[in-house]
């Protein structure tokens, strides 16, 4: 036999031998799984320009290719997982972009929002602000599986490389989640390690809604306005049911009074003369179910309440967002999912909403502008023509005081804040500016544009917020 033939024969036999042993090299052989599949060329030229990630912020949506993702700030570290029953997948080096950087890239988020990570098959899980910003994950010792008592600095990343190579596209997709640390000293729960990620979304965790009020005048009224109206020191009222659940809201007659004539807020908003003459009030649910009252029954009746909270939480799905409750109602009158309140009065021909008098920009001493549907140009007279509230609030430095002013949220509602706005930039007459989070203001039912002893001089009254946002001598509020 010629040497080269001998070589070929030997090689063939050894190869056969190798295959023979390899074929039974463990009794745990599983049918070829995705993990054993060759890595697909995710960076093939034809695919490089294809978007692999949709990222949705509060104001905009972007689609990114893998190359564009790689151009973002890089975070790398070691990530491994522990299954729910203790199986450890040891840490390996992974590389990607921190979720907090991606959230910032799409406009940012705060603690009222979540960061939803969605896989190609629709599975999703939402990470909290704390997890993104502070790496608030439970970590385990990779050797023992025991929970780590001392915190390890952790960062959630959208990974595109493992050990210097692209992800195995069949096992992990092009992108997956990983929780990384600087050292090989931790693994985290497997349920955070979402694979095949193709979408990230900053998601507001509160649900907004609007109640349509129709009568002599018509106006849609949003959640913030109603909750502001329902503050305990304003028109809030509550009722406790037979199971100890406290329902909080606003008596129905306030809603009726806001649309029964041209006077929506100030003074005696509920028109007693019209009520005495008689009309009907229909409370209409989203499915059309209607409860009808005589005006006489509604008049100044604090035991018929339009509730927006139960036990301090939004209403459950069966009633959300609003339900009629109260001791003056029987069960079938306690309609839920209220969408509209209709007062049986002829609509007034003119604009009955006491919007602030239209001023020219030059005549205004206060402007609300920016990301709003319409800029407001106001002066003290226009502001005082609106509902003026008096509150007692604690100034961070000066202690408790009484303040008069107009609800900041009412002003924002009048201007119509556009979706995606996050901040108010407040400018004082001397040009000094300060910023306050829009969500903080929206959550603050008592925040006012306060009047002062000096005409045309307004201060922000911001209960429970830091002193730096109690801006003085405000001339402009810009929504951003």
């Amino acid at each position: 036999m010629k040497p080269y033939l001998r070589l070929i024969l030997s090689g063939a036999l050894l190869l056969a031998l190798t295959f023979t042993f390899a074929a039974c090299s463990g009794e745990t052989q599983v049918a070829p799984s995705a993990t054993e599949a060759p890595v697909e060329a995710t960076s093939a030229p034809t695919e490089a320009a294809m978007p692999v990630l949709e990222i949705v912020g509060l104001t905009e949506t972007k689609s990114l290719t893998l190359e564009e993702i790689k151009a973002l700030p890089v975070t790398e570290g070691y990530a491994g997982i522990k299954s729910s029953t203790g199986k450890i997948t040891p840490p390996v080096m992974v590389k990607g972009v921190a979720l907090k950087d991606l959230a910032e890239f799409i406009g940012g988020m705060d603690e009222t929002a979540g960061f939803n990570v969605v896989a190609e098959d629709g599975y999703s899980i939402t990470y909290s602000f704390d997890q993104l910003q502070n790496g608030a994950f439970i970590a385990y010792d990779p050797a023992t599986g025991d929970e780590l008592k001392n915190p390890v600095e952790l960062t959630a990343i959208l990974a595109y490389e493992v050990d210097g190579k692209p992800l195995d596209s069949k096992q992990d997709g092009t992108l997956r989640l990983a929780i990384v640390s600087a050292e090989l000293n931790q693994v985290t729960d497997g349920h955070w390690a979402v694979k095949w990620v193709n979408k990230l979304e900053v998601k507001s965790l509160g649900e907004e809604w609007v109640l349509q009020l129709d009568g002599a005048i018509s106006k849609p009224t949003d959640r913030v306005s109603i909750e502001s109206c329902g503050a305990p020191q304003c028109h809030g009222s509550s009722w406790t049911d037979d199971k100890g659940q406290e329902w909080a809201g606003v008596p129905l007659y306030y809603f009726v009074g806001s649309v029964d004539d041209e006077i929506a807020h100030e003074g005696p908003a509920f028109n007693r003369t019209l009520a005495d003459a008689g009309y009907s009030v229909d409370v209409i649910a989203a499915d059309g179910y209607t409860v009808t009252f005589d005006a006489a029954r509604v008049q100044y009746n604090k035991d018929i309440i339009v509730a927006y909270k139960v036990n301090e939480n939004p209403l459950p799905d069966d009633f959300f967002p609003l339900r009629l409750v109260g001791s003056d109602l029987d069960k079938k009158e306690m309609a839920g999912m209220i969408a509209q309140i209709k007062v049986g009065l002829e609509p007034l021909p003119a604009t009955a909403e006491p919007a602030p008098a239209a001023l020219s920009e030059a005549d205004a001493t206060l402007t609300v502008s920016g990301s709003v549907n319409q800029s407001l140009f106001l002066n003290e007279a226009a502001l005082r023509a609106m509902e003026v509230l008096t509150i007692n609030a604690e100034h961070p430095k000066n202690g408790k005081q009484d303040f008069d002013g107009v609800s900041l949220n009412v002003l924002l509602d009048l201007a119509g804040v556009k979706d995606g706005a996050t901040t108010l930039l407040v400018t004082a007459s001397d040009g000094y500016t300060s910023e306050v989070s829009l969500s903080d203001v929206r959550a603050c039912t008592d925040c006012l544009l306060g009047f002062t002893d000096t005409l045309e001089k307004f201060n922000l009254v911001m209960p429970n917020l830091p002193s730096n946002v109690w801006a003085k001598d405000v001339v402009k509020i810009e929504v951003k």
């Binding site: 074929a23 009794e27 704390d130 659940q245």
Partner: protein, 353 residues
Amino acid sequence: MRKPFAILVILSLLGLGLGSCNGQQKTPLVVFAAGSLIIPFGNIEKAFEEKYPNIDVQAEYHGSIQVIRHATELHKPIDVIATADAALIPMLMYATNMPETDQPYADWSIRFASNHLALAYAPESKYADEINAENWAEIISRPDVKIGIADPRFDASGYRALMAFALAEIADKNYGLFAPMFDKQLTFPVTIFRGDELTTITVPEILETKPESHIVIRGASIQLIALLESGDLDYAFEYESVIAQHNLKLVSLPAEVNLGEQANEEFYKQVQVNLDFQRFVSIKPQFRGERIGYGVTIPASAEHPDEAAQFIAFLLSDEGRSLMEADHHPMFETFIADSYENLPSVLQAIMTK
């Protein structure tokens, strides 16, 4: 002489290799099961493999929702799925189609075992000498007591623990049990609403405890055992079988609360836990109270359905029953098939319609 000898050696080695291969080749059977089945299924696996030496059981354990997710969303080739809540199989598998075939991941299941929800604790746990079946809710709601609950988004015992509070309130007509336990403990609240017919507990999208919370949440109830043993927890909601398997102390919960009594089946239906978000592609899970029933099925994506049916038949046999019960896990007297007509014939033969 050297060439024939070399060839002989090579052929001998080849033959040895093939021979050893023939002797060891086994069919892998991938079983994904609830964490509370780790110990009994470990013994089932051992006995099954002794009886069927050509089958190698490869078991993995997770929270029950995660078990199903491995098949329906991570597309793992799983042969047997066993969950701590049989209702999850129709909810998440019947209703989800395989992308390759457009057919559901499963179209039958068998309820084969039950359990009782209880509180596990250690001798050193706070108020260990005080807690009992009457005062358990008050004791574990105390701010200085660390109480462990599995994450209801992943594990059946988690949403059952929430149900226990609602059921205790209904049973005692004391609507002040839920709030002391859960209020101000979480970044986004778990809420309860007591309707006329149904009490609904809603789990938020982000379930995150506050820094000083007395509640400890982990992905699966089995993870709480180590924390109990280390003294990081005073109490944890666990199944009675698991508590017995780990030699922990146990507070039995009243029959109206423990979700394990057939006589209270209707009572349990008064509560429901809703996940307040779209957790899965097309399903917003809602878990109605019912007697605890473990479910088993063979996914349509199974690579070894015949061996899977053999495994289930063994589990349901007298031998399987005695192994399960030796590990304190109660089996149903009569196994209940959902969609009997779709069962593999080998299983139809051992079931009643």
